[in-house]
């Protein structure tokens, strides 16, 4: 299966998928004017992965600032994971953040409130 590698820009995150290990990495800020095109690729990759079998999927996130357009897109992704979880598919999110910036933890917490699958918010000493 094809993996996605998208280099980050000032306003978009680094994105990398690993079909073989079932992991998706996102790192950086996300505030493009229109987030649909960028996030739709990720959404479709996750849909394909979940449809392919019962292998575990985990999102490894080092996201920092998200504009409201990106927040809406991330919510769609978490809703997709939630639906998979309801079908007993193994999905998880690990969201790492720098302890000096509690806003990132608060943002992750608000997403976590609406998810019943394993969702870890992990402080890391370095950025």
């Amino acid at each position: 299966m094809t993996d996605i590698t998208i280099a980050g820009t000032q306003s978009t995150p680094d994105i990398r998928t690993e079909w073989s290990t079932g992991r998706l990495f996102m790192q950086g800020d996300s505030y493009p004017e229109n987030s649909y095109e960028l996030f739709n690729q990720i959404f479709e990759w996750i849909e394909r992965f979940l449809a392919d079998g019962g292998r575990p999927l985990s999102l490894e996130l080092n996201l920092l600032y998200l504009n409201t357009s990106s927040i809406k897109a991330m919510m769609d992704i978490f809703d997709l994971l939630e639906a998979a979880h309801q079908e007993h598919k193994p999905v998880a999110v690990n969201w790492y953040y720098d302890q000096r910036n509690e806003r990132v933890a608060e943002l992750a917490e608000e997403f976590k409130e609406d998810c019943s699958f394993p969702f870890e918010i992990i402080p890391s000493p370095q950025a």
């Binding site: 505030y31 004017e33 504009n67 609406d114």
Partner: protein, 180 residues
């Protein structure tokens, strides 16, 4: 033509504690570049990382709101001008202000929805935010209090202030102020 009195201008900026200001047509890349400068200023100003992120977020939502509004209406670049100011108030709070031309009728709706947001406490704002987040994209009212405005209200330490001033051709100048 008289020369622009930059010294007087500088004095006004300094007295009003203006860190950054911009007036003119605003493009996607310009929003990013000014945002970058803003982040550098905030770092140099030793702003707390949370406060710096809030100021940056409010700046992004305000300017992208203006871009979306003008683009949805197919306005020319000249009509898509924005006036943006980031300053500090006497209590040391960061203040983000933005202004742009809008249809006068849209302005009335916008001002009343911002006044309605001002009546909500933090818990009610969060509920409104989550409700708006779950609303289908095509059902979003582009001239009402969308997700961006609720997000700005949540990051502000006092109610948002909106002012509408009449302009030519059925338009009005809409000003919004957020105190972080």
């Amino acid at each position: 033509m008289s020369m622009i009195d930059l010294f007087a201008m500088r004095d006004t900026f300094n007295r009003q504690q203006i860190m950054l200001c911009f007036n003119g047509p605003i493009s996607r890349s310009l929003i990013e570049e000014i945002g970058n400068a803003l982040r550098n200023y905030l770092a140099a100003d030793h702003a707390h990382p949370s406060a710096a992120m809030d100021v940056f977020a409010v700046y992004i939502e305000m300017t992208q709101n203006i871009r979306h509004y003008t683009r949805d209406r197919g306005w020319s670049e000249q009509d898509s001008s924005a006036t943006v100011v980031v300053s500090r108030d006497d209590n040391g709070h960061y203040v983000v202000s933005s202004g742009n031309l809008i249809e006068a009728a849209d302005g009335e709706v916008l001002v009343s929805s911002i006044e309605a947001l001002g009546q909500l406490d933090k818990v009610q704002l969060k509920a409104a935010y989550k409700e708006q987040l779950r609303r289908p994209r095509d059902a979003e009212v582009s001239s009402g209090a969308g997700l961006g405005l609720i997000d700005i209200a949540r990051k502000s330490s006092e109610p948002l202030k909106a002012v509408l001033q009449p302009a030519d051709n059925g338009k009005a100048f809409f000003s919004l102020r957020a105190v972080i």
